[in-house]
Amino acid sequence: MSSFNLDVYMPVLILIAFAVVMVVGVLVAGILIRPQNPEELKLSPYECGEEPVGPAWSNFNIRFYVTALVFIIFDVEGALMFPVAAVFQKFNKIGQGGVLFGTLFLFVAILVVGIVYCWKKGDLDWVRSYQVANDDTSKKEVN
């Protein structure tokens, strides 16, 4: 392979197409061979046999968001570090490893400040510290 060729992306498309075909095909084919007996109770959401109460799309805990927030920052950080990590050895061979180490270290160190901040402020605790104050409710917060 002398040059960059987009043919290498073929399997990706083919595999995704397989996935689509599989799901759609099985569902469509299934219509023919599987039973279809809908009734009201069967189509209601499962709540341990009780009558379902209200929709499930209600407010959720903010901690999920904070987790996702810390994640996205680290995700971007990781994605940015990939190319630098990929050229590390190249630079290391010509004796510039220290420069790259410094760059990476600074980059990571700055973000570590952020995670240390979040840690100290308790954003990484699932059971937040101020909820421990009234003990009876704290256990309920674990979901």
Binding site: A19, M22, N37, F71, D75, Q89, G97
Partner: protein, 386 residues
Amino acid sequence: MNSSIVSFLSEMTNFEFTSLHAFIIFGIACFLMVNVSALIGGLGTYAERKISADLQMRQGPNRVGPFGILQFLADGVKLLLKEIIIPTQADKVLFLISPLLCLAGVFATLAVLPISSGLILTDLNIGILYVLGVSSLVGVGIFLGGYSSNSKWSMLGGMRGAAQIISYEVPVTLCIISIVLMAGGLSMTTLVNEQGGLPHQWYILHNPFAFIGFFVFFIGILAESNRAPFDLPEAESELVSGYHTEYSGMAFSFFALAEYIEVFVLCGISATLYLGGYKVPFELGSGELINSTLGGPEFIGKGIGQLLQLGAFFTKTFLLYYVVIWIRWTLPRLRVDQLVSLCWKYLTPISIINLIGIAAWEWIFKGQSIFNLIASLLHSSGGGGH
């Protein structure tokens, strides 16, 4: 320098393939790959049941086929014939899209799985990053599955699943970066080829940081694939069945299939990153040694080399697969707060330190592994007397 199955075949047969040929070859190869992985996934369910039965001093499935090995086929046929129930209040479009997202995300990762030096479907330059990207679709799929069911259990499971998957992606990403840093490239073949066939040439034993990093990575992929002890999204004792509570029939089986294939893929990737991947000792994999010893046409040696590489890869992968199942039936499930604090307060700091440590190691010791260092030390101390 993108090697793929097409380039391998053209090298073997000295035939220049056009785009159309490549498409056909890729199609066939992908079809095989999907089927093999689905088979592995199916056998995974069987293996899981068998191994758990062993661990618990039971028999396990033993009726269908010899030793019950066809049990998964029977299950599959049964699921195919089951009704797909879509709850009235559900978001019907998303309800059907979410298994598709899971399955597509998992299948797409198969494209870069390096099962041998030639039989890799395509060796993208961005291989490992591509795996990270497409496998994040699984998280979206699980979340949407939970959301679209409009059931409280599903919703809780979906939220948990998404939060867990993205949380554990952080240490996993950092571990992968440290491996990329050692190998100096993102493509899967680069990652494998920088290692050697013998254990002391693997990255797990390259330096102490990488050794710790392997365990961090392994815990991370356990959590990413929602395996026990991290199976909170589908914790059957608390959340009924988690995000796929409302799914039935084939729609459910897609989730299950995706999960089992994902475990296989992730085990394969951890074998690739840390355990030398398809590398066979003494460079047997390239086939040159076999050719020079046995003589005969070139493709025979290469073919034997490829088979050896396949063997090496699958041995390592299935060993890890066994460990995954073993862990599942050994350890109890974590609480949510334990899960979160394990990720953010232990694994992430450790992996950050590992990353810095590996960078420092590579810088200070000029990329030598600890065995090389010890060897050169012994050599120099032994040679000091002269």
